[in-house]
Symmetry: C2
Subunit: 167 residues, 2 copies
């Protein structure tokens, strides 16, 4: 099979990039994977205007990456939160791979704000290629821990954002 | 550890996206990972103008993803080919993960133009999260084979582009 003769018209990589090729899609997924669900929490942690964030979340709902789910806080009007779909969670290894690549090659002395561990064994978790009979870590198996260059900012509007407990 | 209090200023994911967030970077890497090295072969397979391709390849050399290496075909003037660096190969699992996600969720009845196998065992290769003591497949272990929706186009200018023999 000669690569140069492969027709690229149905390349799944190009299809994937059409959906997740926007940088902010990956950034919003990072928040959702780490347990952020509420509009105000996305807004606070990402520092976006309401209108920009609304548009981005709506696009991700359209693309099937987030699901808008109603909830009603005690004594308040109904609100909505944004839950990552299975389609979004399937991108978790890609996001981890990008994060670990950034830490390895671009950190500039400031590497590893967070590190990932297997909740059961405590071993480090890495994104890699394996044969399909290999034991892998599901998102729910992965815990996020402070890394070597962990830093904090003032607390968020709601205290419902848990780290590494996205699923 | 509360995710909402994590300072995002040194996020390695954002650093990674600053380098590989451009769609065409991933597309050029796809070609390089599949053995394309020569300017004319990139140009033919991607259908780009010389000026656009020159600019893109030069940016990727600056970013440390490609190395420009001289060679001299018999009886011709010296030319250069573009070899992926170790930094680029470290993105191979990310690219495979994106490709497999596109096949799974966006294929629209046209899934799997190519499939990846372990050259030694013949088993399917997947991008996944694993603990760091797991046996993984290096890029050189991965073979590219025609998949269910494989299609070809007319042969390329040079016959040096091998499929799945990028490393």
């Amino acid at each position: 099979m000669e690569w140069m003769s492969v027709d690229l018209g149905n390349c799944p990589l190009i299809r994937a990039l059409d959906v997740v090729g926007k940088q902010w899609t990956i950034i919003v997924l990072r928040e959702a994977f780490n347990g952020v669900r509420r509009f105000e929490d996305f807004q606070h942690h990402l520092g976006l205007s309401r209108s920009v964030l609304s548009r981005r979340l709506a696009e991700m709902v359209t693309d099937g990456l987030l699901e808008r789910v109603p909830y009603r806080p005690d004594g308040e009007r109904e609100r909505h939160e944004y839950q990552p779909t299975d389609k979004a969670w399937a991108l978790y290894p890609v996001m981890v791979g990008l994060m670990q690549w950034g830490d390895r090659y671009l950190a500039d002395g400031d590497a590893e704000p967070v590190r990932l561990v297997d909740r059961h064994s405590g071993k480090a978790v890495v994104a890699a290629l394996v044969t399909d009979d290999t034991a892998t870590c599901a998102p729910a198996d992965v815990g996020v821990r402070p890394g070597r260059s962990f830093k904090t900012v003032p607390a968020a509007p709601s205290d419902h954002g848990a780290c590494g407990d996205g699923r």
